[in-house]
């Protein structure tokens, strides 16, 4: 019989002591002894949330991996993608090594940026997401700083836009993908070249902001169309 306790217990075995496991299952109450296939989606999410906080506390080093395994057992995630599926960063050979494609760990968040007041809250949201993902203290500050820059650019140059935070992970690393999008005036290709060549400075320092973001992140991509808007995608990677 596949109960929550037996399935999750086998995942946590070796990483979290039996005593601690028992106290985790005690907190889950009746749900721990329920059969996996009888659980409602709501229950599954509740169990996952409880497990996430415990795992982070008791097995921080392996938390990302354990959380993903628990989510998979609770059928909150699909099976790992088949080998050969396009990996998000092919250069690291994830697909070739039979690695799973990055999977979502936690909800994607879309933050509306409508004015100066939203800059501080976006920064705070990004920071807590980075901490939740278990990224290092320095990386978390870098995440908050990059989001601060991106949010400022939106407010100063487009008026409004959105910043999306997408927590992901594969077997190798934890990733926080950040996408800043607006429908502002956009940046002409020549200007964009000048910004990254370091020869362009706007009055309020947009050039500097974009260059700073590019230097802080592990992956960076900008797509801007004059008259249509700008989209900046970047990724912070964290070791697992």
């Amino acid at each position: 019989m596949r109960t929550v306790e037996s399935e999750i217990g086998s995942i946590l075995a070796g990483s979290i002591s039996e005593i601690t496991q028992r106290s985790i299952f005690r907190r889950l109450g009746g749900m721990a002894r329920a059969q996996l296939q009888h659980l409602s989606t709501q229950d599954r999410h509740a169990i996952q949330a409880e497990l996430e906080s415990s795992v982070r506390l008791f097995a921080p080093a392996k938390s990302a991996q354990l959380i993903a395994s628990c989510a998979r057992a609770l059928a909150l995630l699909g099976a790992p993608a088949a080998a050969g599926a396009p990996a998000a960063h092919g250069d690291r050979g994830a697909a070739a090594a039979g690695m799973a494609a990055p999977i979502a760990i936690g909800k994607d968040q879309c933050l509306a940026i409508d004015g100066e007041k939203d800059i501080a809250s976006a920064r705070l949201e990004a920071w807590s997401e980075a901490v939740r993902l278990g990224l290092s203290k320095l990386t978390s500050v870098k995440v908050a700083t990059a989001v601060s820059e991106l949010a400022r650019n939106i407010v100063f140059y487009a008026g409004k836009g959105t910043i999306e935070l997408r927590p992901r992970q594969d077997l190798r690393e934890t990733r926080l993908e950040i996408v800043a999008a607006d429908e502002g005036a956009g940046i002409e290709p020549e200007k964009l070249d000048a910004i990254f060549a370091g020869t362009f400075r706007s009055e309020r320092g947009m050039g500097k902001g974009l260059v700073a973001v590019q230097k802080l992140v592990d992956e960076f991509q900008i797509d801007s169309r004059p008259g249509r808007g700008t989209r900046v995608s970047c990724v912070f990677r964290g070791a697992r």
Binding site: R123, L138, K142, A144, T145, R152, G205, K208, V211, A212
Partner: protein
């Protein structure tokens, strides 16, 4: 608490220096007001230096850096020194990585250290 539009940063006189502890979000108008107020008080009170305490600032991006640097420049133009104190370790490392310049201000580890540099005891 005052509405955001009316917030201001108190400027405190310590010995021959002016101290501002930055504890609220710096935005354009506030930054300009602070820069103006500091310049006026440097002149009227004949201080030696201005100390900006950023102990409570958890994130310093390129925009904030530019504001701090501009304040430093105007204070220096008037003949006083400008010190930034309390930059957090992670913030310092982030600033290095971003490659931003903070060249119009001096830095010190703490308020005491800045005061000591500005007014060495004989």
């Amino acid at each position: 608490m005052k509405p955001r539009d009316e917030q201001e940063l108190p400027i405190i006189r310590i010995r021959d220096c002016l101290l501002v502890s930055i504890q609220i979000e710096l935005h354009d108008r506030l930054a300009l007001e602070l820069q103006t107020a500091l310049a006026e008080r440097v002149r009227s009170q004949g201080v030696r230096g201005v100390i900006l305490d950023v102990t409570w600032v958890e994130v310093i991006d390129s925009y904030i850096t530019r504001i701090l640097n501009d304040i430093g420049k105007s204070v220096r133009f008037m003949g006083a020194d400008c010190y930034i104190v309390g930059i957090r370790p992670a913030v310092a490392m982030t600033l290095v990585e971003m490659g931003v310049e903070l060249d119009a201000v001096s830095t010190a580890l703490s308020l005491d250290a800045a005061l000591e540099k500005l007014e060495p005891r004989r």
